[in-house]
Symmetry: C2
Subunit: 434 residues, 2 copies
């Protein structure tokens, strides 16, 4: 594991006491970036710490930053984080190092920060949270053989399309309909062709989620200049949870040229950008789905990426139905999987995406595909279920129903390190327009 | 044919005499919008007239506009035309009406305009021409059965995938790599799997063009609010020529989820946005590829669209090789087709694209697909050729070679109206990086 620094120090605690609880998603080792608004001010950048948001604009006004951290804080205090991402991972690292020092329980400036707390810290519960980037482009990849097999109803040892062995297969998604956790999603209309019935147009009857991890591009590349695999990892600024909503009946009928309206209705992402730096302790070797599969072609292979390009992030999907809400029940967990089952790395996705000269832009989102694992409880979308799903309160789901809420959680754990989390990626399904 | 106005008057001539030549692409009946720069000033909006560009910023400074035309001219004088498009087609119509009056040979303000000509008019030949929009999203459709058949080597009466009868099948293209005519295109590297050979990575050996017409979206729609077919035509601001460059070897191997790196290397568009208003006299009824195909489903059907949703635009592709340039030969025409062979209308593409609630944004580009017709000379890409193509100077092409230039032209003709053209969509192919 390369290049750990003081921000990863597991003994470090925060002056924000909620950040020191063992189940907190946002300990001082995390410091994810987001965009928020409070008390009728304008959307601006902040950093989650415990149950608070550190307001970067307020930190700038208080003169807390200098040098590289000042430049990064200025870029990060904007209404979108694309400018921060464009500066690259080292710039954000300088800002995180300074924030970690400012927010330490035992830091030399503790009393200064506490004296300014009314201005610097905003409770997450009282803030409105926005999309962290102006997402110009969204690309989604296939990185789980388990998903590819189950969604086509093939047994675990079945043949897969050969191309899956050689490249992270992908399609361009729709960037304009990316929205932030909490915004509701309306069941779409669309064409479908049920077996033995004519082609029809109406509300989707097979509305599904897909549990994914998204990555945000840092500075990107010029058109015509591929990013080599050796430097591709440094083009990943950070990560989020991503729900690639899928109207399966629409998707299965339309997809002569790949997914289109079955997916473009909406994509929901979690609001906090967990930096690649914060996730560094949780990297692991790349998963190999089949022992007989070939090594990656040279443009997709680096020793370091093979050794540590995987990321160990526990991922969960929950469902909260209207009946559960009425009965004050907690959401039921329906999926428990892990990003380490992805057999392509985000560095490989970057190298492949740019291998033809295609330009990536700061804030572009790469979706790592539906992250299903080998076990039944790791099925990361409903289309992988051969049988209806029984929920804990006796309800049954084949696909999502109006009023259902789908909630994703993600958390990186490793012995000897403080666990960090993503917060929620959540959305409520509205009925189709009449 | 509905709503013709004075700007369509075929007897109207321009004080810019080059605009009155019968073969001129930019007569006073056209007035297409673009973005240009001259003499080291900033990129800004203009309107092509004959061999000149009317500088909208200069027109504003001279106080030539008022009312709705003034608002539109302000929006159109920016470095991108998205703001003009967002205002909708009526706003642009007001500006075009005023420009037509200003640029008339027999207009009451002729002497005023001629007195200001040094400031108002910039020769196209001395200007640098930019991408007219900040293209946030690019979607490409399948609208020619002739293309769909030939590219899969099927005879003209063969079965087609049933979905083609029911919807304008589409995929999301890459918006970041859209570039303007004149910018060079580099042959991409990519994975391919030639028959009886292992998977390989290297420069594409099957580099191709696709002759298309692109449409620019006007104001667009909010996420979750489909655009009904009845109002979809008014969401088309204007049109361009579009070359959807295609690395066929890459495309054919990768496309499990549709086109990706085989297409995302670059897309070239012509710089002048020919308005939907200017093309109104050239509309025609929709082409029906097969007599037994069903009527469009209700959400894609309007009587008016069926009657006049087609557009009669002659489209040509030319090739200019290095040997032709060395011998001072003219480009060879290799394709002569017409947009009227598209069997879906741009209004249907808008209605379909938004039918699931997906939001279109001002300046989004919809590609109408490779517009091949029934005859051999209307093959609109090289992949449709079963045999190599013989050029007029004895050279032979299976696919494009380094140094080739591909040039598209487009022109709308109709008895009783002044023909209007698109200018060129042109690019030179650079060799792959070593």
């Amino acid at each position: 594991m390369t290049k750990l620094n003081d921000t990863h120090d597991p003994t470090r605690q925060s002056l924000v006491t909620a950040a020191n609880q063992p189940d907190c998603d946002f300990p001082i080792q995390n410091l994810p970036f987001g965009v928020f608004d409070s008390a009728g001010r304008n959307p601006r950048g902040g950093v989650a710490i415990g149950d608070q948001i550190f307001d970067l604009s307020a930190g700038l006004e208080a003169g807390l930053f200098s040098g590289a951290a000042l430049d990064a804080a200025r870029a990060a205090s904007c209404p979108v984080l694309n400018g921060l991402m464009a500066r690259g991972v080292d710039s954000a690292s300088a800002l995180r190092a300074r924030l970690s020092d400012l927010l330490r329980a035992d830091g030399p400036e503790r009393f200064r920060v506490e004296g300014l707390a009314d201005r610097l810290l905003v409770p997450i519960a009282s803030a409105r949270i926005y999309l962290p980037v102006d997402a110009r482009n969204f690309t989604d990849f296939v990185c789980s053989t388990f998903h590819a097999l189950r969604i086509t109803r093939r047994p675990p040892d079945a043949e897969l399309p050969p191309v899956l062995q050689f490249m992270p297969v992908a399609y361009h998604g729709r960037a304009s309909s990316v929205q932030v956790s909490g915004e509701r999603v309306r069941r779409p209309h669309g064409q479908s062709k049920p077996a033995d019935q004519p082609v029809q147009f109406g509300p989707s009857k097979m509305f599904d989620f897909e549990l994914e991890v998204g990555a945000f591009i840092a500075s990107g590349n010029e058109l015509g200049s591929p990013i080599p695999i050796e430097s591709a990892a440094s083009q990943i600024f950070g990560y989020c949870l991503l729900n690639d909503w899928s109207a399966r009946d629409v998707q299965f009928w339309e997809s002569m040229l790949g997914p289109f309206l079955g997916k473009s209705l909406a994509t929901t992402i979690s609001p906090w950008v967990v930096t690649a730096e914060a996730l560094r302790p949780f990297h692991t070797k790349v998963f190999k789905p089949r022992p007989d599969w070939p090594e990656p072609l040279p443009y997709l292979r680096s020793e370091r990426d093979q050794r540590e390009g995987g990321v160990d992030i526990d991922l969960e999907a929950y469902i909260l139905t209207q009946r559960m809400r009425d009965s004050r029940l907690q959401p039921t967990r329906i999926t428990n999987t892990n990003l380490r089952f992805a057999y392509w790395t985000f560095a490989q996705m970057v190298a492949h995406h740019t291998s033809n000269g295609c330009n990536l832009q700061p804030g572009d989102i790469l979706g790592g595909g539906t992250i299903s694992g080998p076990s039944d409880d790791s099925r990361a979308c409903l289309a992988e279920y051969a049988e209806p799903l029984n929920l804990s309160n006796g309800e049954v789901r084949r696909y999502l129903e109006d009023g259902d809420e789908v909630i994703f959680k993600g958390r990186a754990n490793r012995e000897g390190y403080v666990s960090i989390g993503f917060g929620e990626c959540r959305a409520h399904i509205l009925p189709a327009h009449g």
